[in-house]
Symmetry: C2
Subunit: 131 residues, 2 copies
DNA sequence: AGTCTTGGCGTACAAGCGTACGTGGTTGTA
DNA sequence: TACAACCACGTACGCTTGTACGCCAAGACT
């Protein structure tokens, strides 16, 4: 659809916060982000402005407060970002990344269980599609 | 260990090619990359220079040809890059990305089988560590 | 010997990024 | 009403990234 310029790393964090919070004022986003890391209010403001400039967010003045809302869906952005990463770092192959994630980053037992189910499910539909 | 500046997207592709090929001249890297996408020879050269400047590669003149070799190991770079992505786009949680990869990008049947084994293995060691 | 090709190396340059500051208006408070 | 806190908005600035060009020397070809 719309072909937006890619998000930078910093912009991504702000976008993620915005997805989590829903429409929010700069200060609210700022405070949410503050809890995780030290960042300047103005920096957040600039990122939000850029997010809007790139077409990832909209904003409107509500009284004298500008409220930002995500425009692009998280799923879309994640898809594009991950596709790009997989392309560049793994030459387009998905499995090496999956392997890396599962082996090198901790996965809890209940998550493992979920994973197993996920696989069962896919396996079943594979069987159907390619008998 | 050494704290290198992060790789940019473009640099990553060159690094990956270099890992795949082992030590190689600029032209060799260029030709390998050409097959996948259109890129200028000088661009590749600049990326290799920057890779070295950032400490990800070394080079030495062999006759009048400069041979570049990867210095950082792929595993390390992948770890750092993926950690960063997971942090920024998923707030540090691994599972959403794993889920995304498995659900949204095609995984072949034999890869599914491999995944299942991987999970069995981890499950077993989990059991041992936390009885 | 003269010309073509190839490579190294220096340099460029606009756009994007990270990180803010300052100004001037608005609102809540003493 | 004077003052402090808060906000939007414009602006800045050095660094990085993407994408090259041009010059010069060494080897290859005629």
């Amino acid at each position: 659809m719309v072909d937006r310029p890619a998000l930078s790393k910093g912009e991504m964090e702000v976008a993620r916060t915005l997805w989590q919070m829903g429409p929010a004022a700069v200060r609210a986003v700022y405070q949410a982000m503050c809890e995780e890391k030290s960042i300047d209010f103005s920096t957040v403001q600039t990122y939000l402005r850029r997010l809007e400039a790139k077409g990832y967010a909209t904003s409107k003045l509500e009284g004298r407060i500008r409220i930002y809302a995500a425009k692009a869906r998280a799923k879309t952005v994640i898809r594009d970002t991950v596709n790009d990463l997989v392309e560049r770092l793994f030459g387009g192959e998905t499995m090496p990344l999956v392997r890396h994630l599962i082996e090198e980053r901790g996965i809890a037992a209940d998550e493992l269980a979920e994973l197993r189910q996920l696989i069962e499910r896919l396996d079943a539909s594979d069987q159907q599609e390619a008998p």
